[in-house]
Symmetry: C2
Subunit: 432 residues, 2 copies
């Protein structure tokens, strides 16, 4: 009975597409995941691994030897295979390459020459190229000699004698245009091919803006190297968007949702440790005003309001800037305007909520002075928060530091210290 259920389960599992199997693995706790993985048919293992996130990919690949990797990855697209190989130790990568036939290896080594985050790392080499002088009729007959046209082929790529890109012939043109016309007459020439070293985020932006399904990739001399297809661009878009979200909490965009404690806990611990340092800096600031707090305990009650409002306001500004930078909207020529707007909004919202807090605090502690002090501190801290939230991502980006990851920690340190120092500082002057 047990084995009957297993057989049915195995059949159901392998009836799913590789992407669906990958999703199921990623949605399962580790122990159940390992049971599922053992049930996956060997001949789809490669494709399933290609669909997994990096963390799980690395996990399963680390359990295989070179021969197994070579056998399960047979038939994968170059770019997917290159991604996988780049995660293996060098010796295993070399063994896998040695096990491949000469032509496959040459193509793959070309893709592996490029880092994963540039156009070259996204491209595959399965292009169909044609020459400009032939007629569409000849193109149609040439295509019929193929057993298969690669997936996501919306254009044939027109190259010259030196293999340089000169234009695109869309299949939708080929199917309706006069067959006696030449490729040269019907091809599109007003698109720029993608340079092989273009950053992947920029490639994604081009695809989004131009609604491309695929695009040719060239080297500096204009020679065609391969093409990028929308499915890989969608992954880039998803990862880039996830990156900002996950980084703000000190997490990696490839984070395995169901990572076992042994893998997840140490990473969480490091983030808590970094934040503990900033918490101690805030505590040290409060400690400077110990005597004043001892005299007026209401200060201890109210001080978290000043710091937390600063943190919230600053995080809003930081979030707008981080997103704006990530999607390429914020640059040199508009950042001053943005900084100004944030400062004015910080001041306006500071004044508004300072007034509310002042009245509330005064009534609560029956002391108009404490209301005035907290109001002043709120305005100071909200303007500081706006400035820090806006300037920090611009400075961090210029210094090549990820603003989504480092921004939040630095920002809250600033708003905590300024919040506590301004409130308790003003109070210590007044109540001295």
């Amino acid at each position: 009975l047990e084995s009957g259920a297993m057989v049915r389960g195995r059949r159901m599992l392998n009836g799913l597409s590789p992407a669906e199997i990958a999703h199921l693995l990623e949605s399962s706790p580790p122990r159940f995941r390992d049971v599922l993985w053992k049930m996956v048919d060997v001949d789809v293992e490669g494709e399933v691994i290609g669909e997994l996130g990096y963390e799980l990919q690395a996990h399963y690949l680390s359990q295989m030897d070179a021969a197994e990797v070579a056998s399960i990855t047979e038939g994968l697209a170059d770019d997917d295979l290159a991604d996988i190989l780049q995660q293996l130790p060098d010796t295993i990568t070399q063994e896998v390459l040695d096990a491949m036939d000469h032509q496959d290896r040459a193509r793959l080594e070309q893709v592996m020459n490029y880092p994963e985050d540039v156009a070259g790392g996204l491209m595959s080499t399965d292009t169909i190229t044609i020459r400009a002088r032939i007629t569409l009729d000849v193109v149609l007959r040439y295509l019929r000699r193929h057993a298969e046209i690669p997936k996501m082929t919306d254009n044939l790529i027109v190259v010259n004698r030196s293999d340089q890109f000169i234009g695109l012939l869309p299949l939708r043109t080929l199917l309706v245009a006069d067959p006696t016309a030449s490729v040269r007459e019907m091809m599109i020439t007003d698109i720029d091919p993608i340079p092989v070293d273009m950053q992947d985020a920029e490639v994604a932006r081009l695809f989004e803006r131009n609604d491309w399904v695929s695009a040719p990739v060239v080297d500096e001399s204009g020679r065609l190297l391969g093409r990028i297809t929308i499915d890989d661009v969608v992954d880039v878009i998803r990862e880039d968007a996830d990156h900002s979200f996950m980084s703000m909490a000190g997490l990696d965009e490839d984070e395995d949702t169901f990572a076992p404690i042994s893998r997840a806990a140490p990473r969480r611990a490091i983030w808590l440790g970094i934040n503990l340092v900033t918490a101690f800096i805030a505590a040290a600031t409060i400690n400077l005003f110990e005597d004043t707090i001892a005299k007026v305990v209401a200060l201890a009650v109210l001080m978290p309001i000043v710091s937390s409002m600063g943190g919230i306001a600053g995080t809003q500004t930081l979030t707008v800037l981080v997103r704006g930078i990530a999607i390429g909207q914020v640059g040199r020529n508009n950042q001053v305007w943005l900084l100004n707007r944030e400062l004015i909004m910080g001041a306006l919202n500071g004044l508004l909520w300072a007034a509310v807090v002042a009245v509330a605090a005064s009534l609560w502690f029956d002391d108009w002075a404490i209301g005035a002090i907290i109001a002043a501190a709120m305005v100071i801290n909200l303007i500081t928060a706006a400035f820090t939230g806006a300037a920090l991502p611009l400075l961090l980006t210029r210094a090549d530091i990820d603003p989504a990851l480092a921004g939040g920690v630095i920002l809250t340190t600033v708003t905590d210290v300024v919040g506590f120092a301004s409130f308790l500082g003003l109070a210590s002057v007044f109540y001295a």
Copy 2:
């Protein structure tokens, strides 16, 4: 000279693609944006508007009358036009529809019947349908009668006599297969068409998993209504991913980065107001222990460490859960495992950092009692944070409340209150 520069600027601007013009508008402060907008050629205005974010779309459309909207939107794809019309006041929408020819209007009204966030709202009706019994040769000749094949057409859609979906004929098959074969022999039948009421996030998941360029949309009876193309799906993916990121800071995913103060400040103010309420709840908690703080001022110095560490740990858990729910990895059958893992990690990290903080606090204030008290409070708060961070998004999602928007505010209220109460409460027992 001034006008010469204007002419050159206008020519450069209109040499860009509509998507590039839209990006430029979105990357510009309001005053410069309005100058640019006036320079955009009338005949691309519609396409540019179609590429803008909702906030800017609504801004420019509100300045037009029905005749202008009708004239600039001529030639837009149904789904883009429907998105635009759905933002206009009903009377103007009706006027625009009246100004269209009968066939266009009928098609458009069909798309507008569906909410924007389901498959029906994403689809366009520009499909090419064929019948199963004809040969590929007939299909090829039929296509040649078209002046143009719609963009992003990778498949022809095979329907029966009642217009019901029965399969897809990929262009890549049509171009290589034997022309005497019938459509029935060569079509793909193992893909399920998209039900018109499917949620857009689910549609995006199907596209991602199956690497589709386009997919057919059907009603309950299987009748073909239209098709969805990858360019619109990319927008959904981008917006969904942005949604989580922006919501955590109380911002909208359509937020215009360069919104003028008059539009941006009120929204920011509301978020600050909501958070002010939670800050006062935290302050009220501290106030309960006023006497203890007056006796031992070191408590005021150390208490933000307990609350902020709880907030950081809880935010990490919340972020993992919100992302897992958004991409469909977290559901009924694995949420208990996740909750357990987070609780164990919360306890482990609580113990680790409690030990560190205990030693640091004891040495700082030369008082081992305060070290023991803060350690106990840290463990309590980090376990609470883990539980709240994991359970909250699950509960909010079940109650149909957006966990990315409401989760953070509720979480920090809990970690602040529990952090202050446990630390000061234990202290007041000890130092009583």
